[in-house]
Amino acid sequence: MQRRRVLPGFGLSLGYVVTYLGLIVLLPLAALAWKASGVGLHQLLQLLSSPRTLAALRLSFGGALVAAVFNAVIGLLVAWVMTRYRFPGRRLLDAFIDLPFALPTAVAGIALTAIYAPNGWLGQWLVPLGIQIAYTPLGVMMAMVFVGFPFVVRTLQPVLEAMDRDVEEAAASLGATRLQTFMRVILPMLMPALLTGFALALARAVGEYGSVIFIAGNIPMHSEIAPLLIVEKLEQVDYAGAAALGVVMLCFSFVLLIVIARLQRWSGRWAERSA
């Protein structure tokens, strides 16, 4: 039995989706994998076990995780303030949130460096206090926070707007403290959207290049990110090595995103209607 729907065209639209994904996403990735296969297993292991590669991967993924966690917390706060309160300048502030998306990342990197470099606006005061941001992992994370910031805010805002206030009032009248109301009622309801924002911010931070390299200083074993290592290999005409490193990053990212997707599904299991 063919079921009739209001909007037909499943076959056609699925065809488009598959073709599109194939051309835009899978084809380049396949080319990457094919190129990487030029590297022998031995060579690959050597590449991966080199301390410099490991340090770069650790900074790329570790830094991105820290930045995404930071963005999740601050993004939640910002989204909360933007949706819950009406204050003068709210719309302007709301427009500012998207600026990290609009700015060329290199510009952002240069601006951050200008501010936090030892002779920069803030750097000249922070460095004597022992807080060095530019040319350290801290600077890398700062750039990652900057570029990933809008994701969490923008994914949470519509969910917060749609959330009924009476759920909080019900919790309060049942005897929950403010902290309990937040932890047991509000946060779990926001969790699926929060994880989406977190995953987007994380993915963006892992792949970020332009803004990071300016503030990182790119000191091997200290503030060098994996994408920079790839570019370096390209400059040395080691295409296979660059591709291999790229595939490794891809696998890591894929595993991370799958884990987040599972978490997200679990945290939103209550929204599924079927018993």
Binding site: V167, S173, W270, S274
Partner: protein, 367 residues
């Protein structure tokens, strides 16, 4: 413990939501706050729940000042129109919420909590639904979960905000009778807000009719219906025919109709009379009228008549069986008698009535 509300006022920036409201609610009473939207009934309920605060006035509950406690400390059960269930928690977790958030020393043991939840599930007739999420329940089931959740903390005061407003007509009627039984079983004091007069009159021990932030009348459903105290209550409750009256000598007159002797000894020149459709009857004498429409509504037929003397359109309720015997057609000439009319004197200021000088007239009472 008596719940005592005295001189409550709550002003929002643009309007007064409550204007000097005083009310005493007896222990174990089932009280309905009835009014249209914007009458202040929900504001009053929210003040009782601790979700809103009045600018002036006091609320005491057996001598304790409720306004000094926040929503968390009041231990009232609160049920919302749109259920306000925690949709990320199962039915069981929803019901147990109020017990689980208690500080450790006051929290019942796990086994005790699940025993209580089981008992409540049984009470609201939802045994076996404990593992479902709210999204998997119907509206009526959700509202029963909300009720069980509110009852789990063993409140002495139950507050319901339009609890049946979002439900189908049939579910609504079944659920409200069930709620009435539950109230009697548990002996709670219950206050519920509604805009549905049928619901209020059917369920409540007493009804408080609210209008523009004030309580117009508090009384038993019977008193509200049979002896409306103000013109607003006359017009708000049930259907009513309204007549603008003038005094001529010692008689009250509407156009060419006479309603009876002036009950106020010539103190007022104008008045308004309200006559319910069922207090009008077809008869052999009385006011002459022509039939315009017949609306059959089951056991009762609503007749729309035009009075010959004033050309006013009035409604008369007649048992459907009587109507069948008369075999009336639109355009037929009829006579109408008014058995009971409630009259209020009108002051010269536009529309100002004097509710305290209410009188009941019997325009066509037979000797």
């Amino acid at each position: 413990m008596t719940l005592l509300l005295s001189h409550l006022s709550r002003h929002f920036t643009d309007a007064a939501a409550l204007d000097d409201v005083s009310l005493a609610i007896a222990p174990g009473e089932f009280l309905a706050l009835l009014g249209s939207s914007g009458s202040g009934k929900t504001t009053l309920l929210r003040i009782l729940a601790g979700l809103d605060y009045p600018q002036t006035g006091s609320v005491t509950w057996g001598g304790h000042d409720l306004l000094n406690m926040n929503a968390r400390e009041r231990k009232v059960g609160l049920v919302f129109q749109h259920y306000a269930l925690f949709r990320h928690l199962t039915v069981t977790e929803n019901i147990a919420f109020g017990l689980r958030v208690r500080p450790r020393h006051a929290r019942p043991a796990r086994a005790e909590i699940s025993a209580r939840v089981e008992k409540l599930l049984k009470r609201v007739q939802l045994e076996g639904y404990g593992k479902r999420f709210p999204a998997q329940l119907s509206g009526g089931q959700r509202q029963r979960v909300a009720l069980a959740r509110a009852l789990a903390v063993e409140p002495e005061l139950l507050l319901l905000d339009e609890p049946f407003g979002a439900l189908d007509a049939q579910v609504r009627i079944a659920l409200r009778r069930w709620l009435r039984n539950l109230h009697e079983e548990l002996g709670l004091t219950t206050v519920f807000v509604t805009h549905d007069q049928e619901e209020a009159l059917e369920l409540a021990d007493r009804v408080a009719v609210m209008n523009r932030g004030r309580i117009e009348q508090v009384g038993t459903p019977e008193a509200i219906y049979q002896q409306p105290a103000t013109p607003f209550v006359c017009e708000f409750i049930g259907k009513v025919n309204k007549f603008e009256l003038r005094r001529e000598q010692d008689r009250l007159i509407c156009g060419a109709l006479e309603l009876g002797a002036d009950p106020w000894a010539r103190r007022y020149d104008r008045a308004v009379a309200y006559i319910r459709p069922e207090h009008l009857a077809l008869s052999a004498s009385g006011w002459k009228a022509h039939l315009r429409h017949i609306y059959l509504a089951g056991s009762v037929a609503h007749l729309e008549l035009a009075l010959d003397a004033s050309e006013q359109i009035i409604e008369v309720d007649v048992p459907s069986e009587d109507l069948l015997q008369m075999s009336l057609q639109p355009g037929a000439e009829l006579y109408v008698e008014a058995r009971t009319a409630t009259v209020f004197p009108l002051l010269d200021a536009p529309g100002e009535a004097k509710p305290e000088d209410r009188r009941v007239l019997k325009p066509h009472q037979r000797a």
